[in-house]
C-alpha cells in the first residue's frame, strides 16, 4: 500500500528525512509515531505528493506520488495538521468545490459533513469555526469520495479532551466500516494505542521500528495481552495463570484476559489454540497494550 525506500528530504541545510524506509500494508490502521520534528509531517506530505523527495523511492497504491499525484489523490484523503482555509468562504461552498474537484455531488459532500460532524455549521464562514470544528472540516474533506487510503496528520492536535475522544472514535469507526487503510501521525502514544494495529516509529528522520503492535511488542520484549472467550472462563484462567511468563489473568464475564511477557507468546499461542480445539476456548486474540514501552525501547536502542 505504502512503501518508502531510503527516502531523503532536505529543507535547505536541514535533513528532515534521512533514508526513511518502511512499508504500510493494506487494511491496517497505522500510527506514524515520533517526537516533534521527527519527520512525520514530511512523510505524510511526500506520501500525498505535496513534497518532492530528494532521494530514495516512494510508492503509494502502486503510484509515484510526486509524478502521478493527480491520479493518486483520486484515491487518497488527506487531513493536514493545521489546515488553513480561505477564511471568508462558507463551509458549504468550500465542501461543494472540493467535492466537485473530486467529481462528486453535493449529496456526497453532505454525507462527509455528517460523518465528520460539521453538518450544523455549513452556512458559517470557515473563520467562525473553532479549532475543533476546523479539524472536523478537514476530516470531512479527507473523507470525500470514501478514499482507499487516509493520511491524517496529527488529527487530534489542539482539540479538547471530549473532541479528541470523538475524533478518535470516528477514525476507528471509519477504519472498521470503510475498510480503508489509515495512516495517522502523532506523538500521543496512548491515543494511538486505542486506534492503531500497526506502527511505524520515526525519530530524527530515520525509521526505528515498524510492524503490527503485537510483533513490535514481541521484538522489543514488551508485554502482550491474550483475550480469550470461554464457557468455562475460570478453568481457562487457572490453566493460563500456571504458565511461566504470565504476569496476570483477569476474568470478565466469559472473557479471560492474560498479560504475559513476549517471550511466552509462542507457548501461550499454542496453549490457547489447543484449548480452542478441545472446546475450552471459543476463540482468542492477541493484542498489545505496551506501545509506549515499545516506543521508549526503540528510541533508546537508536541512541
Amino acid at each position: 500500500m505504502i512503501a518508502f525506500e531510503g527516502v531523503v528530504k532536505r529543507f535547505g541545510a536541514t535533513e528532515a528525512l534521512r533514508g526513511a524506509t518502511f512499508t504500510v500494508p493494506k487494511g491496517v490502521v497505522a500510527g506514524l509515531l515520533g517526537p516533534n520534528g521527527a519527520g512525520k509531517t514530511t512523510t505524510i506530505k511526500i506520501a500525498a505528493g505535496l513534497l518532492r523527495r530528494d532521494g530514495g523511492r516512494v510508492s503509494v497504491l502502486g503510484l509515484d506520488p510526486w509524478e502521478q499525484g493527480e491520479e493518486l489523490r483520486e484515491r487518497v484523503g488527506v487531513l493536514h495538521e493545521r489546515p488553513a482555509y480561505p477564511p471568508d468562504v462558507p463551509v458549504k461552498v468550500l465542501l461543494r468545490h472540493v467535492a466537485r474537484i473530486r467529481g462528486l455531488g453535493w449529496e456526497d459532500a453532505l454525507q462527509a459533513a455528517k460523518l465528520a460532524g460539521v453538518e450544523r455549521y455549513l452556512e458559517r464562514p470557515v473563520s467562525a469555526l473553532s479549532r475543533g470544528y476546523l479539524q472536523r472540516l478537514g476530516l470531512a474533506i479527507a473523507l470525500l469520495g470514501e478514499p482507499e487510503l487516509l493520511l491524517l496528520d496529527e488529527p487530534t492536535a489542539n482539540l479538547d479532551p471530549s473532541a479528541r475522544r470523538e475524533v478518535l472514535a470516528a477514525i476507528k469507526t471509519l477504519g472498521e466500516e470503510m475498510g480503508a487503510t489509515i495512516v495517522i501521525s502523532s506523538h500521543i502514544i496512548p491515543e494511538m494505542e486505542q486506534v492503531c494495529n500497526y506502527a511505524v516509529i520515526i525519530s530524527g528522520g530515520v525509521v526505528l521500528a515498524q510492524g503490527s503492535l503485537t510483533d513490535l511488542a514481541t521484538a522489543f520484549g514488551a508485554e502482550v495481552e491474550f483475550v480469550a472467550r470461554s464457557r468455562e472462563p475460570r478453568r481457562l484462567a487457572s490453566l493460563l495463570v500456571s504458565e511461566e511468563g504470565v504476569r496476570g489473568v483477569e476474568v470478565e464475564g466469559d472473557r479471560v484476559v492474560a498479560r504475559a511477557a513476549s517471550s511466552a507468546r509462542q507457548r501461550l499461542e499454542a496453549l490457547l489454540e489447543k484449548a480452542r480445539l478441545e472446546g475450552l476456548a471459543l476463540g482468542w486474540e492477541l493484542r498489545s497494550r505496551s506501545l509506549g514501552e515499545v516506543y521508549e525501547r526503540a528510541v533508546q536502542a537508536s541512541r
Binding site: L50, R52, E70, Y85, H97, V98, I101, G103
Partner: protein, 237 residues
Amino acid sequence: MRGRSKLRAKASRFAAYGAFVAETVGGPLATSTAALSALTFLLVLAFPPAGGPVSGLPVLLFLTSMGYSVVALAGASAMVSDLKGPAQVFLSQPISRTAYALAWLSALLASALATFSAFLLSFAVIDPILLRAVDAALAAAWLLDAAILALALLAAAVLARRAAVLVALWAAMTFGSTFLLALPSERLRRAVAVARPLYGALSGWGAAGGPPLAESALLAAALALLLYWLARARLEV
C-alpha cells in the same frame, strides 16, 4: 476512449478549481477590474475633445495598463498568501500543480481581457469612430504587455513566495522600464520594448517598423513555459 475520459476529468477538475478561484479570490479582481473600467470610461469622456479624438489615447492606454498592473500584483500576492495555507487543501485533491497555477493565470488573463474590452467598450459607447484610433498593433502591445507582467509575477510568486519580491518586480517592470526607456542606449531600450511592449510603443520606440511584437510574444511563451516548469517541479506545499 480512456484517454479522452481522463482528459475530460482533468478539464472538469480544472474548471471546478477555476470556479473556486473566480468565486472567492476572484472577487477583489473583478471589483478592481470594474473600477478600472469605470475610470477608463470617465477618462475617455475627458480626453477626446482636446485637439482631436486621439490626443489622449497614449495617456489612457498607459493609465489602464498601470491600473491593470496593480490588479495583477494584487492577484499574484493573493496566490502567495494561498500558497502559504489554503493551497495545500486544494493540492491534496486530485488536481495537478500545473492546473493550480493555470487557474490563477486564467484569472489574471481574464481580468486583463475584461479591462481592455471595457476600454474599447467605453470608446464604442461614446463614439464608435474613436475605435479606429486603437490599431491592431497597439491592441496587441497592450494585451501582450499585460500577459508578460502577469506571467512574470506568477512565476515569481511560485519561485519566491514573498509578497515583497513581487512588489520589487512590479516596481522594476513598471517604473524601472519607464526610466530605462529614457536612457540613450538603444540596446536597453529595445530590451524594454520587448519586455513591456506597450511602454515601447507609447515611447515611440521602433516607430518605423512598429513595436517588436513577435519578440514580445516569444518572451510571453518563454515565461509561460517557465511558469509551467516551476509549477511542475517546484510547487511544493
